[in-house]
């Protein structure tokens, strides 16, 4: 039997480095990404969706965003802004090969969770007297989340051939994953919202959201400083 050196290398890479990635892209996916040649729409769709569903930082941020959104129309507007932001930088980042430090980008994503939790606690209103535009904030943080997605995909030296169609497939996958995740989150929140405890626990929930953000921030910054 003849194996290629490349496939063994990938195998080794796969067993040694699976722990190096913060989330989302696991070893099997990584194996696929590094050996894939040419167009592969459905696999990229799947990877995108999986990345979003298993990406707890993106999900925590989304929970923060929709926490006080009760009308379907509002939810659609905010989620669209988030999608617009991250799609733009995902495509831009990969196509223009903008390289950013994974830890720093993930630290900004962690910060976005803290920001949203703080905002939900009326932190800005209480401290500044007014709340900065939540729509613009979602859009800006969407841009950073997109760079996070792009940076992770760039780690794999994707082949240039069919790059655009694969990227778009990945991006569409991310949106599918986001819709599925939102469906779950909204269903659960929807049940809880009928009870008074939702509001009684609103402060606790958002405090915990900020806690999650701080933990992720500490984790990513430690990762950054230890990797220097």
């Amino acid at each position: 039997m003849i194996l290629t050196k490349n496939s063994l290398f990938t195998l080794l890479l796969l067993v040694f480095s699976s722990s190096c990635f913060a989330h989302g892209v696991d070893s099997n996916t990584e194996h696929f990404l590094t050996t894939n040649e040419g167009s592969a729409i459905v696999p990229f769709l799947y990877i995108g969706a999986k990345h979003m569903i298993t990406g707890y930082d993106h999900l925590l941020f989304l929970v923060g965003v929709i926490f006080f959104l009760f009308r379907t129309r509002d939810i659609l507007i905010y989620v669209s802004l988030f999608t617009l932001g991250h799609s733009f930088t995902l495509l831009l980042g990969v196509l223009a090969q903008i390289n950013m430090n994974v830890y720093l980008i993930d630290a900004v994503i962690a910060f976005s969770i803290i920001y949203k939790g703080f905002d939900n606690l009326h932190g800005f209103k209480l401290l500044l007297g007014k709340e900065p535009s939540t729509k613009i904030a979602v859009l800006i943080f969407g841009l950073f989340h997109g760079f996070g997605l792009a940076t992770k995909l760039q780690d794999f030296d994707l082949p240039q051939e069919n790059l655009i169609s694969n990227m778009i497939a990945f991006n569409v996958g991310v949106e599918i994953g986001q819709c599925i995740a939102l469906l779950f989150v909204l269903t659960l929140l929807g049940f809880w919202r009928r009870h008074k405890s939702y509001f009684a626990f609103a402060r606790t929930s958002n405090t915990l959201l900020m806690t999650g953000g701080f933990v992720l921030l500490g984790y990513q910054l430690t990762g950054y400083f230890t990797s220097l």
Partner: protein
């Protein structure tokens, strides 16, 4: 919308402090020890979390222990002469590694290896020296707990094993070799 009961500066500060303190505690006790082997409180070690942070790299470096010379009994001496190179290789749980020799064309590499119990997936293969096409030839691929034989190198290059440990605990291989080769060791 956006109804939070009794929002005040005081409750905001409490929320912020609680979340920061909670995050610091989680980081110090769990995340930093488990992810980075940074353990300022010593609790991570007590809880066994720092084990998670020992990278595969370190584990592999620590894994090869050259065997001390065989005991000085006559029998031992023959054994040592019989197998001049003997090495213990630890394959960590759920990991794979390669151990290679440089062998010239038509030279012999005699080998015998045995694990401390569990069967490992392995691929015994060779890569021609200076080859850049990525070609390599597999001599034997199987899942066993021991194997022995003689390789007559079909070409000059790097020959050896890739072992993969699919079990949940580390497996130690004792590999003994003799013949005409240069040890390249763990790759």
């Amino acid at each position: 919308m956006n109804s939070l009961p009794k929002a005040s500066i005081k409750s905001l500060i409490i929320s912020c402090l609680v979340s920061i303190v909670l995050a610091i505690v989680i980081l110090l006790i769990a995340v930093l020890p488990a992810e980075f082997n940074i353990d300022p409180t010593g609790l991570g070690k007590k809880l066994g979390l720092t084990v998670l942070a020992q990278s595969a790299d370190e584990a592999v470096k620590a894994a090869v222990i050259s065997c001390p010379e065989e005991p000085k009994s006559t029998e031992g001496q023959t054994a040592a002469v019989a197998w001049p190179d003997s090495v213990m290789i630890t394959v960590p749980a759920k990991k794979g590694l390669e151990y290679k020799f440089h062998v010239n064309k038509a030279d012999k590499l005699e080998f015998i290896w045995k694990t401390d119990g569990a069967a490992l997936y392995f691929d015994f293969h060779g890569e021609p020296q200076g080859d850049t096409t990525g070609y390599f030839k597999s001599f034997k691929e199987s899942t066993q707990s021991e194997s022995s034989g003689t390789l007559v190198a079909p070409f000059t290059g790097s020959h050896g094993w890739y072992w993969e440990n699919k079990t949940n605990h580390a497996v130690i291989i004792n590999l003994k070799t003799r013949g005409q080769y240069k040890i390249k060791g763990l790759m």
